[in-house]
């Protein structure tokens, strides 16, 4: 994903905009990564530990959308 070594842009506006863009990108990567882990049979506890967050946090953030998309059946 890196095309060049990360360097801080000179313009503060560009540097701060990059922070926002990276946060949004991290959210999208998280959505896809959690989805993939669940499809591979990972439990919420495993996903949570890998992300370094609580099981409750990861469940609250992802369970409903994965259920709605049919990726996940039960509440596990």
């Amino acid at each position: 994903m890196f095309t060049a070594p990360p360097t801080l842009p000179d313009d503060p506006a560009d540097a701060l905009a990059a922070v926002g863009a990276l946060r949004r990108l991290a959210d999208r990567v998280e959505d896809s990564a959690v989805e993939r882990a669940v499809l591979h049979g990972w439990t919420w506890s495993e996903v949570a530990e890998a992300l370094g967050v609580t099981r409750q946090a990861v469940h609250k953030k992802h369970a409903r959308r994965l259920q709605a998309a049919g990726v996940l059946r039960g509440g596990r």
Binding site: T7, G20, L25, S32
Partner: protein
């Protein structure tokens, strides 16, 4: 927020921004979603706002901001299941737009808050994704504000 003072159109903008965020698979409602929704309305298109051009400008802004720190984000495969079921929350940028809209209405002595006030509230941002995208879309914000 004094929501009862919002006109029907202003309420539609709040609801529309949430739908816009949801349709894009975004996690929160931001000022950019208010802008995109309002840019789709005929009354603001007549003033020169172009929804497609703004959407392109927002995408370009994201791409360039990531590129500025060496990240090319185009390759990420999209999630099968975007965040949708939950009621999306209004993030700081969107709340700020609405607060500014109320200030504009108050400063003009208007009792009701209209969609035009909401747009003025969105356009009042001097920093962040909205002004950066407006600049990329080559929109003359001062001229636009004067005509709302």
């Amino acid at each position: 927020m004094a929501f009862e003072r919002f006109t029907r159109d202003a309420r539609a903008a709040v609801v529309g921004a949430r739908e816009q965020a949801r349709a894009q698979g975004h996690h929160d409602v931001e000022a950019e979603h208010l802008l995109l929704f309002l840019a789709g309305r005929a009354e603001f298109q007549a003033l020169g706002l172009d929804r497609d051009r703004l959407a392109d400008a927002l995408a370009t802004e994201e791409e360039r901001s990531l590129a500025a720190v060496g990240v090319a984000a185009g390759e990420l495969e999209p999630s099968i299941a975007p965040r949708a079921p939950r009621k999306l929350q209004f993030a700081t940028s969107a709340k700020l737009s609405l607060q500014r809209a109320m200030k504009v209405a108050a400063a003009r002595g208007d009792r009701r808050l209209t969609a035009g006030h909401v747009l003025l509230g969105v356009l009042a941002a001097e920093r962040g994704r909205v002004p950066r995208a407006l600049q990329l879309a080559q929109i003359d914000v001062e001229d636009l504000r004067a005509r709302i």
